[in-house]
Symmetry: C2
Subunit: 116 residues, 2 copies
DNA sequence: GCCATAGTACGACCGCCATCGAAACCGGAC
DNA sequence: GTCCGGTTTCGATGGCGGTCGTACTATGGC
């Protein structure tokens, strides 16, 4: 169907007003997904699927990224062969004030404690 | 074994420093438990098991209250025949800053939206 | 054109947790 | 003492979700 060569694959993202608190909490309750979120928050910038450090297979990781995207926590977009992921921190803050930041912060605090 | 007549049944509560973020999130991810927390937050004061409005049987409700207690979210104590429940909001705020309040707030916002 | 690389879709398995009903329990009222 | 209402424990059940491997697709480089 002569799909455009550039700006090729696009990804569906929910409007945050359509996302329920339940969805967000379910997304954040899984340890692997919280790792992903933490790594995104720490990295400061976009990471591709393969660059996450997680104790699961790639297909499982894809699954987790889908859940996070559907919960409105991350945004995904293609660039070249890679699919990049970024936190929707600002929007989340608007829709669920303090929630994502509290989780990220507590998560970081817990892992520091292990180091200290 | 000659259990003391007074100050009878006591309940074990974890120190919040022993509670993991994982535990807290698992406690808060269940809709019924979030209802309980919301009702406690709104009521302002202690509620007995039987006074919660939840679409589950009493035995299930007991189970949920146990989970919340073990996660450090609520404190329980006996008074007469009743077992009262109260939020450990202050302690939670210290250990997991912003977390419980964000969830309670978002929860309230969502139910208001249904009303509006 | 071909190949290599990155990610995805699908289907199956398995363990965990919410749920219930019924029976036991405990404290207080009488 | 006996009864009663409130709460808990136990065991069984059912469904959902995390996990994996494999087969597949798509993009970019050669």
């Amino acid at each position: 169907m002569a799909r455009p060569r550039t700006a090729a694959r696009t990804v569906e993202h929910p409007d945050l007003s359509e996302v329920s608190l339940q969805q967000v909490l379910e997304a954040l309750v899984d340890p692997v997904r919280r790792m992903v979120v933490s790594q995104l928050a720490r990295a400061g910038e976009d990471k591709s699927c393969g660059t996450f450090d997680a104790p699961v297979s790639l297909s499982t990781l894809t699954h987790h990224l889908n859940v996070l995207r559907e919960a409105g926590v991350i945004r995904q977009y293609y660039r070249g062969t890679a699919k990049l992921n970024t936190l929707r921190a600002g929007e989340m803050e608007e829709q669920f004030p303090g929630l994502l930041s509290a989780v990220v912060h507590a998560s970081a605090a817990e892992s520091e404690e292990g180091v200290a």
